[in-house]
C-alpha cells in the first residue's frame, strides 16, 4: 500500500470538508437585507396622539402562557385584573429558536431573527449580536430624547450598549440561583417607580427560567415564584393608579419564550413557543374587555387570542406615538384600535403599519412592483397568499380608498389594510428561509468528493475483513438514511445504542471464535462481552435524551439525586480511580505521591461547584461541611489550580516521550490527565460514567482487536457516549454549566473551548482511549484517519442532502438545522481537531524523529 499518496488524499479530503461546510452554510443560512437607520414620520403622516407616554416592559424569562392564565397559576392579582378588564391578555407565538437573545430581538425590532442568532446566543460575543445599529422601539424612544432604564438579565445590556440611563445587569452563571437574580431586579423597583425621568423601564426576571431548567414546570418552587412575580405586578399596578406621573403608563408583562415539560427551551414544541403576553393599564377598562380568568389548562397552551411576538413592536410604537421600526414584520394588534375615538386616527395607525410593511417587502423583493397600474392586470387571478397575494391586497386598498369617502373609510379600508399587513407578515416571515440552492448543491458536491476520494482507502481497509466491512456499511448507510426522518434525527441516540449492542454481539462472536480465548478461557470471553453489554446498557439509561422518551426517569436526573450517598460514593471512587491512574502512569523515579494532590484539588473544586450549581445534591452531608470550610478560595482560582496541574502533567508527558522509549507510558499519562480534565468539565451526576468507561477499557484492552475494529469501536463509543452524557440534536440540550470554569472575564475562545469539552467529554475520552488501544494492537499498518474521514464526510453529505431535500419541511428550522449545526461541530471540532490532530496527528508526529 502506498502510504504517502493515501495520506495526502486524506489530508485533501479533510481540507475539502470545511470548504464544503462553508459553501453549504452560506446557501443555507440566508442573509436577510436589513434597512439601516431609524424610521421617522413622513410629512404626510397625520398627527395621531399617543395613548401612553411611558412604558414598563417586564420580561419574565420562560413565562409560559399557562403560568399566568391557567387554573393552577400563582398570578392571582393579575387574573383579577383580567376579570376587571384592565388587561388585554394574549398568547404570543415565539418562533424557533426559543432562546432568549433571538426572542428579545423579535420583541424589540419586530423582525424574525435568523437562525444564526442561536449560535450568537451561545457565544454571546459583545459586538456581533448588538442591536445598537438597528431600529427598535427603544432606539426610537432614545431618538426622541427620552430616558430608558433597565434591570435584570444583562443580555439587554449586550444588545443595547449605551442605551440605558441607569442599569443593573444580572448574569446567570448558576441556574441554581432562584432568589438573588430576581431580588436584584425587584430591589430597584420602588425607587424607579418614584422617579419620573424615564419613559421606558425594562425589567427582565430570570428566576422562573432557572427553576424550569433545574426542576421543570411542575417544580415546588414554581407557585411561590409566580406569586413573587404577581406581587411585582401588583406593586407596579398600584403605583400606576396612585402616582400622578405614571397616569399614562403602559405596562407590558411577557415571557420571551416558554418551556417544555422538562423545563428546557430552544425547540418548537407548543410549550416552548407559547409565552404569555399581557398589556396592563387602568385605561383599558373603558374598552369593556372583561374576560374569564383563570381558565381551564389546555394542552396546546393557546389562551385568549394568539398573536405573533413581532406584533409587540408596531403595537408599542402605535400606542406610544413612535414611528414603527424599519425592519418590523409585526402587525398592529387590532384590539387596541379602540383606544382612539376617531376613525381617521384608527385608519392612520393601520395605514402606517401597512406602509412600513410595504417598505420592507419592497426592500426584500426589489423586482416586484406595487404600482397600482402594474398590478391591475395581474391581479385577476385572485391570489390570496405569497407575494402575488400581497400585491393584490395592496391593489385592493388602492381601489377601496379611491372609492370611499372620509367618514366611513375606517370601516371599509381598515380591513383591507389589516389583510395586506397579515399577508405581508406571512410573506416576509417565510422569506427568512430563502435558500441559495446552487450553493447548497455545491457544498454537497464538495463534501461528496471528500467522501469519494477516501473511499478506496476505506475499501482497502475493509477488504481485510468482510463482516467488519459489512457492519461498517450498515453503519454508514443506516446513519445516512436516518437523517431524512425528523424523528430519527431527534432520537439519534437510539441508533447508536442499537448499533452498539449489535457491535458488541459481533465482538462476542469474534471472541468465542478466537483460538486463544477458546482454548484457555471460554468463560472469560463470555464474561467480557457480557460486561461490555451490561455497562453499555447502564450508560444508555444514564441520561434520557431526545424527544420522545426524554421525560422518563433515568439515572442522572432521578436516581442519583434521590440517593445522594450513592452518588457521592461513586464520585469519590471515580476520583480515587483517577488518582490511581495518574499515580501508575508516572515513572517510579518521579516523586509520584505529589500527583495525588491533583485529583484531590479537582474533587474539592467539584464539591464547591456543586454547592453553587446544584446544592440539592449536597444536602447536609459531611461534604457540605467540607465545602463550607473551603469557601474562602474563589471558585475561579480553584478551577485554575486544577487546570494548571493538568497542564503540568501534559508537559511532563511530552518531556517523558522526548526523553526516550517510554512512549506508551507518556500516552497513558496524557490520557489520565485528560480524564481528570473531562471529569472537571462534566456535571457531578455524570462523573461516575468515567468509572464505567474505565471498566469498558479494561475489558477492551485484552481483546486484541485489530486496528480496524479499534477504529469502529471508538467511533461508536464517541457517538454513543455523547448521547449518554445527555447530549441530543436539540439546541436546548447544550450544557453550559461548566463553560465558565476558571474563566474570570468573558472570552469567546475560552468559553467556546470549555463548552465544547463539557458537551463532548465522552467522545474526547474515547478518542484518547482509541489511541491507547491502538498501541496495544499488533497490526501496525492501520491508518484510522481515512475511515474516520469517510464516516464524517458521509454523515455530513447525508445531513446536507436531508437539509436540501427537506428545505420546505415543517421541521427544517427545529430539527434539521440544529442537526446540521451539530454535524458541523462533529466534523470540525470533534473530527478534525480531536480525532485527527489529537488522536492521529500527534502520535504520528512523535513517531517521526
Amino acid at each position: 500500500m502506498a502510504i504517502f499518496p493515501g495520506r495526502w488524499v486524506t489530508i485533501l479530503a479533510n481540507l475539502l470538508v470545511p470548504v464544503g461546510i462553508l459553501t453549504f452554510s452560506t446557501g443555507f443560512f440566508p442573509y436577510k437585507p436589513l434597512l439601516p437607520g431609524l424610521a421617522i414620520f413622513d410629512e404626510s403622516d397625520a398627527d395621531v396622539s399617543p395613548v401612553f407616554d411611558k412604558v414598563i416592559f417586564m420580561v419574565v424569562d420562560a413565562l409560559r402562557s399557562d403560568f399566568v392564565y391557567a387554573n393552577e397559576s400563582g398570578f392571582l392579582f393579575t387574573q383579577s385584573l383580567i376579570r376587571a378588564g384592565a388587561v388585554l391578555p394574549f398568547t404570543a407565538h415565539a418562533g424557533s429558536p426559543t432562546v432568549t437573545m433571538p426572542r428579545l430581538k423579535a420583541m424589540t425590532t419586530g423582525s424574525v431573527p435568523s437562525f444564526l442568532d442561536v449560535i450568537l446566543n451561545i457565544a454571546e460575543s459583545d459586538t456581533t449580536s448588538t442591536l445598537a445599529y438597528q431600529d427598535t422601539w427603544l432606539a426610537q424612544l432614545k431618538a426622541r430624547g427620552d430616558r430608558l432604564v433597565m434591570y435584570g438579565d444583562d443580555t439587554w445590556l449586550k444588545l443595547f450598549p449605551g442605551m440605558f440611563e441607569r442599569s443593573d445587569g444580572t448574569t446567570s452563571f448558576f441556574v441554581s440561583d432562584f432568589v438573588e437574580v430576581d431580588q436584584n431586579v425587584t430591589r430597584h423597583i420602588p425607587t424607579e417607580l418614584a422617579e419620573s425621568d424615564w419613559s421606558a423601564l425594562v425589567m427582565h426576571y430570570l428566576g422562573l427560567d432557572h427553576i424550569g431548567h433545574k426542576a421543570g414546570p411542575r417544580s415546588p418552587f414554581m407557585p411561590s415564584k409566580q406569586q413573587e412575580m404577581d406581587a411585582v405586578v401588583k406593586a407596579i399596578y398600584t403605583a400606576m393608579q396612585q402616582e400622578p406621573h405614571l397616569q399614562s403608563t403602559l405596562f407590558v408583562l411577557c415571557g420571551d419564550h416558554g418551556m417544555n415539560d422538562a423545563g428546557n427551551h430552544g425547540g418548537s414544541s407548543a410549550g416552548e413557543t407559547s409565552p404569555a403576553l399581557l398589556f396592563v393599564s387602568p385605561k383599558f377598562e373603558v374598552l369593556g374587555n372583561t374576560l374569564e380568568s383563570p381558565v381551564e389548562a389546555s394542552d396546546d397552551f393557546q389562551y385568549y387570542r394568539s398573536v405573533e411576538q413581532a406584533d409587540i413592536t408596531p403595537t408599542l410604537a402605535g400606542l406610544l406615538g413612535l414611528p414603527i421600526p424599519l425592519n418590523s414584520l409585526g402587525v398592529f394588534i387590532p384590539e387596541f384600535l379602540n383606544m382612539w375615538d376617531s376613525g381617521s386616527h384608527k385608519l392612520d395607525i393601520l395605514h402606517r403599519n401597512a406602509q412600513q410593511l410595504l417598505n420592507t417587502v419592497k426592500a426584500t423583493f426589489p423586482g416586484v412592483s406595487f404600482d397600482p397600474e402594474d398590478i391591475a392586470s395581474s391581479c385577476s387571478s385572485g391570489a390570496v397568499s405569497g407575494i402575488e397575494g400581497a400585491q393584490c391586497a395592496w391593489f385592493q386598498i388602492h381601489q377601496l380608498s379611491r372609492k370611499t369617502s372620509a367618514e366611513d373609510a375606517f370601516a371599509i379600508v381598515g380591513p383591507a389594510f389589516q389583510r395586506f399587513s397579515q399577508i405581508a407578515q406571512d410573506v416576509m416571515s417565510s422569506t427568512a428561509s430563502d435558500y441559495n440552492v446552487s450553493r447548497l448543491g455545491l457544498g454537497l458536491l464538495i463534501t461528496g468528493i471528500a467522501a469519494l476520494i477516501v473511499f478506496p482507502a476505506v475499501c482497502q481497509e475493509c477488504a481485510q475483513s468482510t463482516y467488519t466491512g459489512g457492519f461498517l456499511a450498515l453503519l454508514v448507510v443506516g446513519y445516512g438514511s436516518m437523517m431524512f426522518a425528523s424523528s430519527y434525527v431527534e432520537e439519534e441516540q437510539q441508533f447508536w445504542y442499537w448499533i452498539c449492542s449489535g457491535w458488541i454481539f459481533y465482538l462476542h462472536i469474534k471472541m468465542t471464535r478466537s483460538r486463544r480465548t477458546r482454548r484457555s478461557a471460554f468463560n472469560w470471553s463470555s464474561i467480557a462481552t457480557l460486561g461490555l453489554i451490561m455497562s453499555q446498557r447502564i450508560l444508555r439509561r444514564w441520561n434520557q435524551t431526545g424527544q420522545k422518551f426524554t421525560a422518563e426517569p433515568d439515572i442522572a436526573r432521578n436516581f442519583l439525586p434521590s440517593h445522594p450517598l450513592f452518588l457521592w460514593v461513586l464520585v469519590i471512587l471515580t476520583y480515587v480511580d483517577s488518582g490511581r491512574g495518574l499515580f501508575l502512569s508516572l515513572p517510579t523515579a518521579f516523586p509520584r505521591v505529589v500527583v495525588l494532590v491533583l485529583p484531590a484539588l479537582a474533587f474539592m473544586f467539584k464539591i464547591n461547584f456543586v454547592a453553587n450549581d446544584s446544592p440539592e445534591l449536597l444536602a447536609d452531608s459531611v461534604l457540605s461541611w467540607l465545602e463550607k470550610s473551603l469557601k474562602i478560595v474563589p471558585l475561579v482560582s480553584q478551577a485554575r489550580l486544577v487546570f494548571g496541574g493538568i497542564v503540568c502533567c501534559i508537559v511532563l508527558a511530552i518531556a517523558m516521550s522526548s526523553r526516550s522509549k517510554t512512549a506508551p507510558a507518556s500516552n497513558k499519562l496524557v490520557h489520565e490527565a485528560l480524564n481528570l480534565f473531562l471529569m472537571t468539565q462534566s456535571r457531578a451526576t455524570n462523573i461516575p460514567v468515567f468509572l464505567v468507561f474505565r471498566i469498558q477499557a479494561l475489558i477492551l484492552i485484552p481483546m486484541d482487536l485489530t486496528g480496524l475494529e479499534v477504529t469502529i469501536v471508538t467511533l461508536m463509543m464517541q457517538y454513543m457516549t455523547f448521547f449518554a452524557f445527555g447530549g441530543s440534536n436539540a439546541i436546548s440540550s447544550v450544557d453550559l454549566s461548566s463553560a465558565y470554569n476558571g474563566v474570570g472575564s468573558y472570552s469567546v475562545v475560552m468559553v467556546g473551548i470549555l463548552t465544547f469539552v463539557s458537551n463532548w467529554a465522552g467522545p474526547i475520552w474515547w478518542v484518547s482511549m482509541g489511541h491507547l488501544l491502538r498501541s496495544h494492537e499488533a497490526v501496525g499498518s492501520h491508518n484510522p484517519a481515512a475511515l474516520l474521514t469517510f464516516h464524517t464526510a458521509m454523515s455530513l453529505v447525508s445531513v446536507m442532502a436531508a437539509c436540501t431535500a427537506l428545505r420546505t419541511h415543517l421541521f427544517i428550522w427545529t430539527v434539521f438545522s440544529p442537526k446540521y449545526l451539530y454535524s458541523i461541530a462533529w466534523a470540525t471540532a470533534n473530527h478534525v481537531l480531536v480525532n485527527l490532530l489529537g488522536g492521529v496527528g500527534l502520535p504520528a508526529l512523535r513517531k517521526r524523529p
Binding site: 475483513s465 462476542h508 462472536i509 468465542t512 453489554i533 451490561m534 439509561r541 485489530t706
Partner: protein, 278 residues
C-alpha cells in the same frame, strides 16, 4: 447471514476455515423425508405468521393478556411441528435425509450426550423416542426464557417497567428458537457451545433461531418514530420482528445457497498463524 462473501472469503484464504470446524459438532439438520413433514415444514412458518397477523390487533390492545393467552397455543404448534418434521435428539442418523447420511453418521459417531438405540419396530419405543425429546425441549425452552429476557434487557428492553412484557416476549422467542434446538440436539454441550458462539452450520433449526434473534433486533427500528401509533409500544415490534425473522430464517437457511454454511471471519488466517506458533 452466511452469504456469497463468506464463500469467496474461504477461497481467498485458501480454505483454512475448514480446520476451524469442530470435529465433534453435530451436522446440519434436515426436515424428515416424509411428504407430510416436507409439506408442513413449509406451511408452519406461514401458519405462524398468519396467526401473528390475525392476533395483531388484540396484541396491540393488551400485549400481556394476548401474549399469555397465545403461549400454550404456540407451544402446542411448535411441539406439533418438531414432532412431525424434525428428527429427535436421540434418533439414529438414518432419520435424516439420505443426502447427508454418510457424513452425518461419521461425525455423530463420537458424539457425547443423550443417545438411545431405537429398534424402530416397537411403536411405544418410537413414541417414547419422540416424546422424551419433546418434553426435554419444553423444559429447556422454559430455561431459555429468562436467558432471552436478560438478553432483551441487555439490548435495550426496559428494566424498571414492562417486566411482564419482556418475559412473555422472551417466552415467545424461546418457543420459536430454543424449542427446536432442544428437540433436535438435546443437551449436547458442543452444540450449545456452538449456539452460544453463533457457530452452527446453517440449517432450518439454527436458521430459525438466528432469524428470531436478528428479527427481534431489527424489530426495534420503528420504535423511535413519532407516528404515535399504539403498536410502537415496547414488545410489539420486537415480537413481530422475531416472528418474521423466524419465518425467513427457517425458510432461507434450507436453501442450497445457505445450507451447511457457517458465519465466519475472513481474518481467520490470523488465527491459523496463532495455531502454528502455539
Amino acid at each position: 447471514m452466511a452469504s456469497h462473501s463468506h464463500v469467496s472469503s474461504i477461497n481467498q484464504a485458501g480454505s483454512p476455515s475448514q480446520a476451524f470446524v469442530e470435529k465433534s459438532s453435530a451436522p446440519p439438520i434436515n426436515i424428515l423425508p416424509s411428504k407430510l413433514a416436507q409439506a408442513y415444514s413449509y406451511a408452519h412458518p406461514i401458519l405462524l405468521l398468519t396467526l401473528c397477523a390475525a392476533r395483531f390487533e388484540a396484541l396491540v390492545a393488551d400485549p400481556v393478556q394476548e401474549l399469555l393467552a397465545d403461549l400454550p397455543w404456540l407451544a402446542l404448534l411448535q411441539l406439533f411441528y418438531v414432532l412431525l418434521c424434525l428428527p429427535p435428539a436421540a434418533s439414529p442418523s438414518a432419520d435424516s435425509s439420505p443426502a447427508s447420511d454418510a457424513k452425518a453418521a461419521r461425525s455423530r459417531s463420537g458424539k457425547p450426550g443423550y443417545r438411545r438405540k431405537n429398534s424402530g419396530k416397537n411403536v411405544w419405543a418410537a413414541v417414547w423416542a419422540k416424546l422424551m425429546p419433546a418434553c426435554l425441549s419444553l423444559g429447556l425452552t422454559f430455561l431459555a426464557t429468562p436467558i432471552i429476557a436478560a438478553l432483551l434487557v441487555m439490548f435495550g428492553a426496559p428494566l424498571t417497567t414492562h417486566n411482564y412484557e419482556t418475559v412473555l416476549c422472551a417466552a415467545h422467542m424461546a418457543l420459536l428458537s430454543a424449542s427446536q434446538l432442544a428437540y433436535v440436539h438435546g443437551v449436547d454441550g458442543s452444540v450449545w457451545k456452538e449456539v452460544w458462539g453463533i457457530a452452527r452450520p446453517a440449517d432450518t433449526v439454527w436458521g430459525s433461531a438466528l432469524g428470531t434473534g436478528l428479527g427481534a433486533w431489527f424489530g426495534a427500528i420503528p420504535i423511535p418514530l413519532d407516528w404515535d401509533r399504539p403498536w410502537q409500544a415496547f414488545p410489539i415490534t420486537i415480537l413481530v420482528g422475531a416472528y418474521i425473522g423466524y419465518a425467513l430464517g427457517t425458510l432461507l437457511s434450507r436453501t442450497p445457497l445457505l445450507y451447511g454454511k457457517r458465519i465466519q471471519f475472513s481474518s481467520e488466517s490470523e488465527e491459523e498463524d496463532e495455531k502454528k506458533t502455539n
